[in-house]
Symmetry: C2
Subunit: 395 residues, 2 copies
């Protein structure tokens, strides 16, 4: 299961919530296990997951009739489903159906609740949650639908739920950690594939193609693909062009795909030929920052303190003018999960959090250098999810 149930229960109790309603694709998949394709690839399609507090009824998926096949095929742990909308799937009367197809038939035969709000309102009423306080994730539900939900349930207190879900998602379950490890290591192998084609005259696009081919070959989808060479590596979000690699160029990767719905966000650097003294010194300083992070990160450590420790180390170890708004962030179904390693952050690390920790440095006219690793906070420190070091690669 992806959902951290204990943490969800704890948060609901703390906030006096009778239920959570997931509406953004990340939260629906997280809460119910149901991956509703259309809401992942468009903005607008509606799928929800209702997750009541213990003793307040079982969880429920709200799905459009046209997406019920994904429920039947994925068989998520949440079994109750309310459907809405007209969509036809016929059946061959002479066929012996597989269990998946029988399940789809059964799901299609349930009453049509009209639309997504109608289905959600029924699911809430069925559980007697009308007079309760409920956190509704405000990011995935259409604004007009949220308004209609409030009107249909005038005695229900609907509070914003996006931050509640972000808090719950911050501490990963075992299944999530394995997916994040898979995503991170696919990105590492995709970087290796890109570097295998890096030679004088190779373009950023050629590197990106090798990166993307390996990403899809390993079962992931390309998402974050910042690959820059030479002075272009200094562009923080550098998108690959036809610029040709030259001897001495820095290559910066800030990359990661989506593997079983979980994101990667890692960074590595290479140089075509021997690195100059400045590149080598700055890169060592950035790596030292990450190494310092591993020393100070543990349950109970303040995220702002981790930020300070990393910044001081980078400055001391060779980049005295280093300035940066953050040195890392959680990662999960979203590319930026809680917590954030910023100077203003008031968060505290907990066992099971997974973070992408990074020390990027961008200098126009010179290069961009960046190392970023994904780690899990353990009982007394961190465990790396990576298979390679941050070392500057010479190709």
């Amino acid at each position: 299961m992806l959902l951290n149930q204990a943490r969800a229960w704890q948060r609901m109790e703390q906030d006096g919530l009778a239920a959570l309603v997931a509406t953004a694709p990340e939260n629906v998949t997280y809460t119910s296990g149901y991956w509703a394709m259309s809401q992942w690839i468009r903005r607008g399609p509606q799928a929800y997951a209702l997750y009541p507090a213990p003793g307040r009824g079982g969880p429920c998926i709200v799905a459009s009739t046209g997406a019920l096949d994904l429920v039947a095929d994925q068989d998520p742990w949440v079994k109750e489903v309310r459907r809405y909308g007209f969509f036809v799937v016929e059946t061959d009367p002479g066929a012996v159906l597989e269990p998946r197809d029988r399940r789809l038939q059964e799901l299609c035969q349930a009453p049509d609740d009209g639309d997504a709000v109608g289905a959600l309102v029924r699911a809430i009423r069925d559980r007697g949650l009308e007079g309760a306080r409920i956190a509704v994730d405000e990011i995935g539900i259409l604004p007009a639908y949220l308004e209609r939900l409030r009107q249909a349930l005038p005695t229900t207190t609907c509070v914003p739920g996006w931050d509640v879900f972000r808090h719950v998602r911050a501490v990963k379950t075992a299944e999530e950690v394995e997916r994040l490890r898979g995503a991170a290591q696919i990105a590492e192998r995709a970087i290796a594939a890109a570097l295998a084609v890096a030679r004088e005259g190779a373009t950023e696009r050629e590197l990106a193609l090798a990166f993307n081919e390996t990403t899809v070959r390993e079962g992931a989808l390309p998402v974050l693909g910042c690959i820059g060479t030479g002075p272009r590596s200094a562009l923080p979000n550098c998108q690959p062009t036809d610029r040709k690699l030259q001897r001495g160029d820095v290559i910066r990767f800030d990359v990661g795909g989506r593997f079983r719905h979980y994101r990667a966000d890692i960074a590595r650097n290479a140089v075509l030929g021997e690195p100059g003294a400045k590149v080598a010194r700055y890169h060592r300083a950035l790596c030292a920052g990450l190494e310092r992070a591993w020393e100070v990160m543990r349950p109970g450590a303040k995220t702002a303190d981790v930020y300070q420790a990393v910044m001081e180390t980078v400055r001391r170890e060779g980049l005295p003018h280093y300035r940066r708004n953050h040195v890392g962030h959680g990662i999960g179904l979203d590319g930026y999960d809680v917590p954030n390693l910023t100077p203003e952050s008031r968060e505290v690390l907990e066992e099971g959090m997974v973070l992408s920790v990074e020390t990027p440095y961008y200098e126009l006219g010179f290069a961009g250098l960046q190392v970023e690793d994904t780690v899990r906070v353990t009982r007394d420190g961190v465990e790396s999810l990576m298979s390679t070091t941050t070392a500057l690669r010479v190709v």
Copy 2:
């Protein structure tokens, strides 16, 4: 330019709007040409485009400081930019900067408006649009930000803008048509690559891998990848598994990537070996439906009439029990643009609309069959953007 300016002006005049505010990624890119990566790959990051009516001031991009490099590198047609947030990009004092880097420096030196709403409010005030009626796309802006925008501009009438943008986007510019043609034809070549590996024992995942490899090799990103074989082809949103292809199996593709930000959505069928009589008859009926659509689609045709003509044809030509909620939809930056070919639709076709027209049929225990082509409405009919026919392929 992606934006259909004449149509935007017309709609603003009709609705008495002094400006449009794009907030969803599709609308920001559409309006300004600026592709703000973070808002495309996550939900939450904010980028906007303000587009005033003629005579009400020039357009303006609102971007986070950390994403200004994408403005400098892409050089979108909208030149005025307001930025927000702290983000550091250093400069090598000894370097001779390229124009792109000088532009980024200049953008970073503009005043920091604090946050996205602050920047948008300033852009609106700068143009004296405070007392005006403005359509704000409600899909990309965070709900709390929209509330703050209303509070900061108490004399401004903010009406929902998502449907306004959808209306404007329905009639494509020449640049959009070329991107859509590219996206559709990449999907066709990716289907061919998948069919090239289709043989007894090949898995759905192997077909999908060949599909995705060709997609990325051609410069697109995988998005919609429903590939089902045998009875699984009857699942409308079938996601590839390790099921092995068997002789006589139908293979159904409902697929399409994203090419230069524009979507493809096409469908084709194949059979491993000779098709049975039922497959052949049903497939012919579905193709006949599409052919009928080409006869009746032209500027002025009612979308509901197109729906009826297609449905009647499919029923008459071999699938008498055919039922379906729609037989097509617009396509563009979003996978479902306006108009929709539904029985309830009140829309009328216009020259320059681009639609994915489809006749899917799903029968559990048998197969799923589906043909879907992308076409552009011309002055007196339709032009296909495809390079292949809908014929059932025998592999």
